[in-house]
């Protein structure tokens, strides 16, 4: 009897080993990582819900979050759904929505979010633990069964403006996180922690120090407050063992006078070795950005034919209004084009560098430019469907008058150097757009009344799910963009949908304002 007990207590059961996440396509009923797979596709291989039957979709259960508008992407494993809100996590019975456990960590009284909302975008799972990134910049590992804390590691000090809102990315043996704080003059980084102990394995600074390549793209000491936050979850190629991550804007945002140069690696994608964090390549979308066009996006890894040859691509509809397809082995630019209204560049040259129209920087009097600072798209996820071979992106059509002001650096305060005034709400709009992955050419669009704040999910059933500011949760035909189903949620949708199955039946989940809705046939 004693021996049996000993056996039970001495073996840590690795419920979700790395291989399960790597092979996520083999278990379509679960949602094992932020984007559904390491490739950043936010695509569900489930095909029970189709254009023919989606009109019968009904609410199965709902969950009310404490606090403000929720932005979580749940993890679903073996009948349990794990969700987060700021400094809080919970495990729910995926059949009923009943809580199995909850965990909370107080937010320090003097904590402040400088330049973003108090949100959390989801947990990560690996082996026997759930990982949560907190506003006060700790990475916390919880016991999957009970929610009890296993370890916590201080990632950075929150007082000068470091914070975390993203879902961590768990790869083999490691948990990766990035930081917010791009409006506070931080020096951004991507960190990897040992999943078992919480010890830091490596750190990659997004702003190179003197002596490191890239530092020459910063005038004087400006690199010290260069920002380059990393606030959206990256992607991973297990074969190449490369981690891909988007980097945010340079600081101060709208006044580039003190930071002459390209300001690497802000507004870029970086490819890092998963074991060491060493930089393999980088691609900068917006050199010397002065419009707050963070490249805080989920990179999508897609294999698609280019001139008759299938290539390993990394693709991105960027906040700056252009769509990019790059080679993900080398970072080489392959194709790009505007996918939304933009008035700041004539186009891209053959290396993918924007041909900037002179006089489009913010000024004292103000300069009207498209897109507005929240971009042609923003943090929420795009989707790639291997079934339709299309990329789907919620696109924002908003312009703004950008202003430049003096920027004075004081740790823990705004270091922004200006602002914007958007065009009237009645002239703003948006669309769900379907783009060809290798070129960015538009296949169709579905118009929205206002610029969206919700991401998209595609499914093997041939549907695209998303939500609107007006509270609609809807499904479109993935081939044509035709609306096929909708539900009025009663709150603005500002999150990403997922799909999973309960007892073999497909479900779709999406938070709208403070409520998580779960739909099924």
């Amino acid at each position: 009897m004693k021996r049996v007990l000993l056996l039970i207590s001495s073996i840590a059961i690795a419920q979700v080993p790395y291989e399960r996440i790597r092979d996520a396509a083999k278990e379509p009923g679960n949602w094992l990582t932020y984007s559904g797979n390491y490739q950043g596709h936010r695509h569900s291989p489930l095909a029970e819900i189709t254009p023919a039957n989606v009109s019968g979709l009904k609410v199965k259960w709902a969950y009310q979050f404490p606090g403000g508008r929720n932005q979580t992407t749940p993890i679903v494993v073996d009948g349990v759904m794990y969700i987060t809100s700021p400094n809080r996590a919970a495990a729910l019975d995926a059949k009923t929505g009943r809580e199995l456990w909850t965990w909370e960590r107080p937010v320090p009284k003097d904590y402040q979010s400088i330049g973003f909302g108090r949100v959390n975008r989801g947990p990560a799972i690996l082996d026997d633990k759930l990982f949560v990134a907190t506003l006060d910049c700790y990475l916390v590992a919880l016991d999957l069964k009970t929610g009890q804390q296993r370890w916590e590691t201080k990632v950075e000090d929150y007082k000068p403006g470091y914070s975390m809102t993203l879902a961590p990315l768990a790869i083999k043996g490691k948990v990766l996180v990035g930081v917010s704080g791009g409006e506070a003059g931080i020096r951004g980084f991507i960190d990897a922690y040992d999943a078992a102990s919480g010890q830091r394995s490596w750190r990659f600074f997004t702003i190179p120090a003197p002596g490191e390549p890239g530092n020459e793209t910063w005038a004087g000491d400006s690199w010290k407050t260069g920002a380059g936050s990393t606030w959206v979850t990256g992607s991973y190629d297990p074969e190449l063992n490369l981690v891909y991550w988007g980097v945010g804007n340079p600081g101060p945002d709208w006044n580039g006078d003190s930071r002459k140069g390209d300001n690497l690696y802000t507004c870029s994608f970086v490819a890092l070795d998963g074991d060491t964090g060493k930089l393999k390549w980088h691609f900068q979308f917006t050199p010397h950005d002065t419009h707050d066009w963070d490249s805080a996006h989920v990179p999508m890894l897609v294999d698609a034919p280019v001139n008759g040859k299938v290539r390993k691509l990394i693709v991105n509809p960027n906040r700056n209004g252009f769509y990019y397809a790059l080679d993900r082995v080398t970072g080489e630019f392959i194709a790009g084009r505007a996918y939304a209204r933009q008035t700041w560049a004539k186009g891209l040259d053959d290396k993918g560098r924007p041909i900037v129209i002179p006089g489009t920087d913010p000024t004292e009097e103000g300069n009207l430019t498209w897109p507005a600072l929240n971009g042609a798209t923003i943090w929420y996820s795009p989707s790639y469907s291997p079934k339709t071979n299309l990329v789907y992106v919620a696109t924002r059509e908003v312009g703004a008058t950008y202003f430049k002001r003096a920027a004075e650096f004081k740790p823990g305060t705004f270091f922004a150097g200006g602002g914007e005034r958007q065009i009237p709400a009645s002239e703003q709009w948006g669309a769900i757009r379907a783009l060809e992955p290798a070129t960015g050419k538009m296949a169709w669009e579905y118009k929205l009344l206002s610029a969206p704040w919700a991401g998209v999910l595609s499914t093997a059933g041939g549907l695209v799910f998303s939500g609107s500011n007006e509270g609609n949760i809807f499904a479109l035909d993935g081939k044509t963009g035709k609306p096929l189903w909708n539900f009025h949620s009663g709150g603005a949708v500002a999150s990403n949908p997922i799909s999973f199955s309960i007892d073999g039946r497909q479900h779709v989940a999406l938070p709208a304002d403070k409520v998580l809705y779960v739909f099924g046939l």
Binding site: Q112, E183, F414, N472
Partner: protein, 238 residues
């Protein structure tokens, strides 16, 4: 002595507004716009702020913020907080104008010209147009004069006229009460509401630049002056 004080106080105030402006532009403009007209945060160019009715509360809002969307600027020195608050208030002050009319006389014009058939003031009247109880703290005299003589020149939010044709070919015209991607809600002229599925409509016409308010351009000049003076005097319940 008194004179001296006035002389001293003016530059101090100007300096304070200057400090407030600098802080506002570096720490608040990101969300409220460089001129306070709003963006991610609300427009602050208003005489009355819902969450900051008085000076103490305004200072508290600046220091503590309003969770979860607005961060507090707790690191500011109390003098800087006072300066920022003064600057925020200065944004909401409408430029003082010379107004020719007499408010009390204007109140009579308001009643006799039929304005009460469409506007509620301090709880009285009929709600076919926007409530005007605090219109004087939101709009200046020039705007108010134009609203009366040329209502089509500016339509405040929530007064778009729509004409819908349903599947049976019936036409309804009304003011848009709300709209989402799939449905539309109208307020009809009899005060009732109608709801439509956009997909089931034969026609949907958005009538822009046209107000349901008639243009009052045959009022006597003195009546118009008095009416404007009356509207300017409507500052809302204290």
């Amino acid at each position: 002595m008194k004179k001296l004080l006035v002389f001293l106080a003016l530059p101090v105030l100007a300096q304070q507004l200057d400090t407030g402006k600098r802080i506002f532009e570096s720490q608040c403009a990101l969300c409220h716009g460089p001129d306070g007209s709003g963006g991610r945060g609300p427009n602050l160019r208003k005489a009355k702020l819902k969450n900051a009715p008085d000076e103490d509360v305004l200072k508290k809002v600046i220091v503590d913020g309003i969770p979860p969307e607005m961060p507090g600027a707790w690191q500011l020195h109390p003098a800087e907080v006072t300066a920022t608050a003064a600057y925020v208030r200065s944004l909401g002050k409408l430029v003082v104008e010379e107004i020719a009319g007499v408010p009390a006389a204007g109140e009579n014009v308001f009643a006799n010209a039929g304005c009460v058939a469409c506007h509620i003031v301090n709880g009285k009247g009929i709600a076919n147009g926007p409530e005007l109880s605090a219109i004087g703290s939101r709009r200046n005299a020039k705007h108010l004069r134009e609203s009366i003589t040329a209502p089509n020149s500016f339509l405040p939010d929530g007064f778009q006229i729509l004409e819908v044709t349903d599947a049976a070919g019936r036409i309804s015209k009304g003011v848009k009460a709300n709209e989402d991607l799939f449905t539309i809600q109208l307020t009809l002229s009899d005060g009732r509401h109608a709801s439509f599925q956009k997909a089931s409509l034969k026609g949907l016409r958005r009538i822009t630049g046209q107000s349901t308010m008639p243009a009052f351009n045959s009022l006597a000049a003195i009546d118009l002056d008095n009416l404007v003076a009356y509207l300017v005097s409507l500052k809302g319940a204290e």
